[in-house]
Symmetry: C2
Subunit: 249 residues, 2 copies
Amino acid sequence: MPAMAGNTGTPGATVAGRVMAVLGAFDEHHRRLTLSAIARRAGLPPPTVHRLVGELVRHGALAREDGAYVVGRRLWDIGLLAPVQTTLREAASPFLHDVYATTLATVHLAVRDGDEVLYLERLAGRASVPVVSSAGSTLPMHCTGVGKVLLAHAPEEVRSRVLGSLRRVTPYTVTRPGVLLRQLERVRREGYATTVEEMTLGACSVAVPVRRGGEVAAAVAVVVPTLKRDRGRLVTALQVAAQGIARRL
Amino acid sequence: MPAMAGNTGTPGATVAGRVMAVLGAFDEHHRRLTLSAIARRAGLPPPTVHRLVGELVRHGALAREDGAYVVGRRLWDIGLLAPVQTTLREAASPFLHDVYATTLATVHLAVRDGDEVLYLERLAGRASVPVVSSAGSTLPMHCTGVGKVLLAHAPEEVRSRVLGSLRRVTPYTVTRPGVLLRQLERVRREGYATTVEEMTLGACSVAVPVRRGGEVAAAVAVVVPTLKRDRGRLVTALQVAAQGIARRL
DNA sequence: ACCGGCCTTCCGCTGAGCGGAAAGGAGACC
DNA sequence: GGTCTCCTTTCCGCTCAGCGGAAGGCCGGT
């Protein structure tokens, strides 16, 4: 078959699919992409991407910023309309501010999304620890505070899947299933989880569950440079917030 | 020409364009749409929309929620990657919290976008006034606090265009160009703007400019049920915040 | 029973889309 | 200045993905 002639190397593909592939090329760590980078990441030939991207820029879905492409204003607008745990976020917002005000640490609100943690909200402190997460991003469960809380209360099936593949992120990441399993028991017993430089060097976290009915619906956490003797104070602040959020659900 | 036969009623149209038309059917006031509503608002025939929407749902750009369609998680993720005044928002975030903490009112951060106001951030109070705006939405300039501030410092050309079409929104909306012009002079002189039920009944606002270099880059505001004698206190709180934000730019 | 509104499936026509080929930059290295 | 590499952009002829009118199914109202 000498070159598949004319068009579509992959029959069955749709334009909408290609458009989403182009948009999907952007992520947390790739907010600016050149044309060829998009092509590579989307698995499409450069000329095709060139045309699509041109179209998308014309419609405001993407924007050109000096050399490279970035996600456009239009898509920001539209994306904000998505009902992603809207009630939870709205209920939580004031309490997260309270926690921030009293601790001045970075504050997180997250839910479980499959086998990962989805960050819904992040309040970054004025002079806070370097933190990887931001609203909209996902991180693994086994090395984040919110992750441990959500994992401790997740269905058995999720837990065993996650425990089966504990990727090392820093030298302090817990990668032995037995150790993590014992930590999770403790999380259930004591009502909070901690991490110590397991995701990012120089960052520790404390997290507590937010309950809706009997279920754990979300987790709130703070990130600080070190736990030391602040632990008790942070747990209390978070529990007050979690309680308040739960009441409003 | 008896029915235009076969395909595309409108030649020259592209699929990417149609996709954006479909996504553009959603807005602030239309977060849930039925298939036929999308078709109407996008100006496309229902079968075409049916196919596109199906595709988009498969890719997570839209989601089906019982009967109707809503914007999907995937688009939320991607939209959050847009560099929409990122540095401004990050610089402002902690100061907005401070204002919220001290006033317990709804706090806004906005910039001018053409002849309208674009809301970048909204901190909604626990028990706050009904407010129309939310992050991502745009409102007219002449009847919002942030709008008046930004209009007072906008290029002459923008100002005259806006003054030329003052739409009435509530019985208290200022629709006489002369009156508004005098208010704007005062805004420049005194350093803050106010509105009294000009956009929403039962909501008043106070706003101050945020400067970057010599330019006014943004505006911060609070929304309260009534101004009364709080005005001075609110202006001060906002000015402190605006000063802090400006310092970080 | 009938009507009006939705959603959905069908299907034949066709031009929008495709992407290899090749031409135009912009650097980097020798 | 020449050559190499990598990226962007234009060209263009071949099709198949997309189109949307027509028609069928479903519900709720009258």
